[in-house]
């Protein structure tokens, strides 16, 4: 089996792995006998294990101090050198991954983050593609696939086929999911972004406006990210808390559920069963794309090209410019868009 083994480096964030999935699945479809090992970030490793097209996950420890860092690099090189790889594909484009791969045998290719490693890639005979931001990065993935003699057929890829969904949060009724994570608050995210910064009262009004716009047909579920947000705690202060981490309240006789401390897998399951997602553009909107769920995602105007680079291939996503919560509450176009999208979905 060694001769069919493929090593992929993707040592960055969840969204980076999720956007790479069509590439990896297409590779596996083209070379069905290949055994795929992935070198991932420590943070992603447990999550990646849920995908059955990955045979082995090798977490790369994040070490800051110099000597321990060198020690772990040598250790992982020695571990990987014991295996024979037919293809080594560096999707994260990181210097560290490139460095490790230099010591390994196999046909090597790299999706470069910039032109910085071009000369070294040429010297060491790597097939390389620069992950240009001027177009959506799926096109760059597609070009790398072309160099490796396969094709990414986005229409026929189901990233979540045979995925291990944990169903502890299955809700019965149809609902709109609002993912209210730290990205809505720029002091917890990018400080130069427009601060949506919803207060507890504004979240209340936002939920009511969404229920009105959709004729009270859907329930609303609100989830949050890993960071603690005081305003959200204040928002749920008058909610019922009969089950741990789950808070409920009636708005216009419709149940609104707030779920705290979800894992990413819980979130995926909630997205999968939702009728619509409202979120800030990021990993969660990549999930909704892969699950074919209509989505409105907020993006920062000054980073439109960067947003298109991530989302250009996503057909179910509607991008809405970030604005302050006060302005969002008064933006009739937003609620019209929501109404139209829900009616057409």
């Amino acid at each position: 089996m060694d001769e069919l083994r493929t090593l992929i480096f993707r040592t960055d964030r969840l969204g980076d792995f999720i956007i790479s999935c069509p590439f990896i699945i297409s590779y596996k479809n083209k070379f069905p006998d290949s055994n795929i090992s992935i070198v991932s970030s420590e943070y992603n490793s447990n999550y990646i294990e849920n995908f059955n097209f990955i045979n082995e996950v090798i977490p790369l420890k994040r070490v800051i101090n110099f000597f321990p860092k060198i020690y772990f690099l040598i250790k992982i090189i020695l571990t990987l050198k014991k295996k024979k790889f037919k293809n080594i594909i560096i999707l994260d484009g990181k210097k560290r991954s490139f460095f490790i791969s230099l010591f390994l045998k196999g046909n090597k290719s790299i999706l470069l983050q910039s032109s910085g490693l071009v000369i070294l890639s040429k010297i060491f005979n790597y097939k390389f593609v620069i992950n240009y931001e001027i177009q959506n990065q799926m096109k760059n993935f597609s070009y790398l696939a072309s160099l490796l003699n396969f094709n990414i057929d986005l229409k026929n890829i189901d990233v979540y086929k045979n995925y291990n969904f944990k169903k502890k949060l299955d809700l019965k009724k149809k609902y709109i999911l609002i993912h209210l994570d730290e990205k809505w608050y720029n002091h917890l995210y990018y400080t130069d972004f427009t601060d949506i910064n919803p207060t507890p009262g504004q979240i209340n009004s936002f939920v009511k406006k969404i229920l009105d716009a959709t004729n009270n047909v859907f329930e609303v579920v609100i989830t949050t990210g890993s960071k603690k947000i005081k305003d959200l705690n204040d928002f749920v202060s008058d909610f019922n808390n009969s089950v741990e981490n789950i808070y409920t309240k009636q708005f216009n006789n419709i149940c609104v559920t707030f779920i705290k401390d979800t894992t990413f897998n819980d979130l995926e399951n909630l997205v999968k069963n939702s009728s619509f997602l409202i979120c800030c553009e990021g990993g969660i909107s990549h999930v909704s794309h892969n699950l074919n769920i209509q989505t409105i995602a907020f993006y920062e105007k000054s980073r439109f090209q960067h947003t298109k680079y991530w989302t250009g291939h996503m057909t179910k996503i509607s991008l809405v410019e970030r604005k302050k919560m006060h302005d969002l509450l008064n933006d009739n176009k937003f609620y019209d868009l929501l109404k139209n999208k829900i009616n057409n979905s």
């Binding site: 083209k30 032109s115 593609v129 620069i130 240009y132 001027i134 177009q135 096109k139 760059n140 597609s142 070009y143 696939a145 072309s146 160099l147 490796l148 003699n149 396969f150 094709n151 990414i152 057929d153 986005l154 090209q305």
Partner: protein, 350 residues
């Protein structure tokens, strides 16, 4: 979007226009494509890269050429930049060009074979890939579904195009012509002549055909390759033509020879295996052959049966113009590039 509103779409067409060949290749694909754009009322401006860059010792003209493109874009403000076989620009040049002109649609066409079994495949693939990553759309003369390495969502088939102002012969009208069968090969249209000591697989095939009592007009084998008006003069002397490709059959690929023969009213023999049957019917539009023995029989039969030959050759020309005329193909290309609905959908369009 109707055709009227597409009038005046500005296209900057960067491709070899063969000016340095002094008219020898006046029937090139680039020329036919330009004519097609004009027939559709598109506003096409051309830059001939290889003419600009000729005698380019140490590549010293390249910065001038790039500046020339940038200035032309600034003055012309095209909606589309269509690249032919512009091998003079590398991936970085194309990226920079796109990065400075993000609102322009970049597209390329590539009319050489991309058959993985072809001896120069990797050379062809590298040339195609120079522009592939950045181009929003790509047009090739092979069916993309038969190529593993192609992104089908941005790569589309186009046939070899014919042009009413160029492909004007009607050989089917004449019972008695000087020659029975025409075939022409060269080792590259830019080279013009033949490579010394290189034996083409097509020559080996042709040598297997028994051509007793058949008057043949073979160029690149018996005689030197012919070009320019002389090519059409020689073509006009023949009743039938042979379309022979190198390499293994691959869906829909052919050199532009197929157009020169069928679109000029010669009864044309096509190899089985390329799925041309999807467009041209056997014994109605063209004749398909499996091997040299079958071809031999067909040549003998049709060289003396004017009525059958003429009817098939006439139909072939009619069908070719119905589905491969430059006005149709270029309109389709522009609609694909601008992501418009295809207005006149033909069999080969997707």
């Amino acid at each position: 979007m109707n055709l009227f509103s597409k009038k005046g779409i500005k296209i900057l067409h960067i491709a070899d226009m063969h000016q340095r060949h002094q008219g020898r290749l006046f029937y090139s694909t680039g020329k036919k494509m330009n004519n097609g754009f004009i027939k559709n009322d598109f506003n096409v401006l051309q830059i001939s890269d290889r003419d600009f860059l000729q005698s380019n010792i140490f590549n010293y003209k390249k910065p001038l050429f790039i500046k020339y493109i940038y200035n032309t874009i600034k003055n012309f403000n095209p909606q589309i930049i269509l690249l032919g076989h512009v091998d003079s620009l590398n991936e970085e040049d194309i990226y920079e060009l796109k990065n400075h002109h993000k609102n322009i649609n970049f597209s390329q066409y590539f009319v050489d074979t991309l058959d993985p079994n072809f001896e120069k495949f990797s050379q062809h693939k590298d040339r195609f890939f120079l522009k592939y990553q950045i181009c929003d759309t790509n047009f090739i003369t092979t069916d993309p579904s038969s190529l593993d390495f192609i992104d089908k969502s941005k790569t589309f088939f186009i046939p070899n195009i014919c042009d009413r102002s160029i492909d004007i012969l009607e050989n089917y009208k004449y019972e008695n012509l000087e020659y029975d069968i025409f075939f022409a090969l060269s080792h590259g249209q830019h080279r013009g002549g033949l490579k010394k000591g290189y034996i083409d697989e097509r020559v080996k095939f042709i040598n297997q055909i028994e051509l007793i009592d058949i008057k043949k007009n073979f160029f690149g084998i018996d005689k030197k390759p012919v070009w320019g008006e002389q090519f059409f003069i020689e073509l006009s002397k023949s009743k039938m033509g042979l379309n022979l490709n190198r390499g293994m059959p691959i869906k829909y690929y052919s050199s532009d020879r197929i157009c020169s023969l069928i679109a000029n009213g010669l009864l044309t023999f096509l190899q089985v295996g390329y799925s041309y049957e999807d467009f041209f019917e056997h014994r109605k539009d063209v004749i398909y052959f499996n091997d040299h023995l079958e071809l031999n029989d067909y040549i003998k039969y049709y060289s003396t049966n004017y009525k059958d030959r003429s009817k098939i050759a006439f139909n072939g020309k009619e069908t070719y113009f119905k589905i491969c005329e430059n006005s149709l193909v270029t309109k389709y290309m522009v609609e694909k590039i601008l992501d418009y609905k295809i207005s006149d959908k033909l069999l080969w369009m997707n």
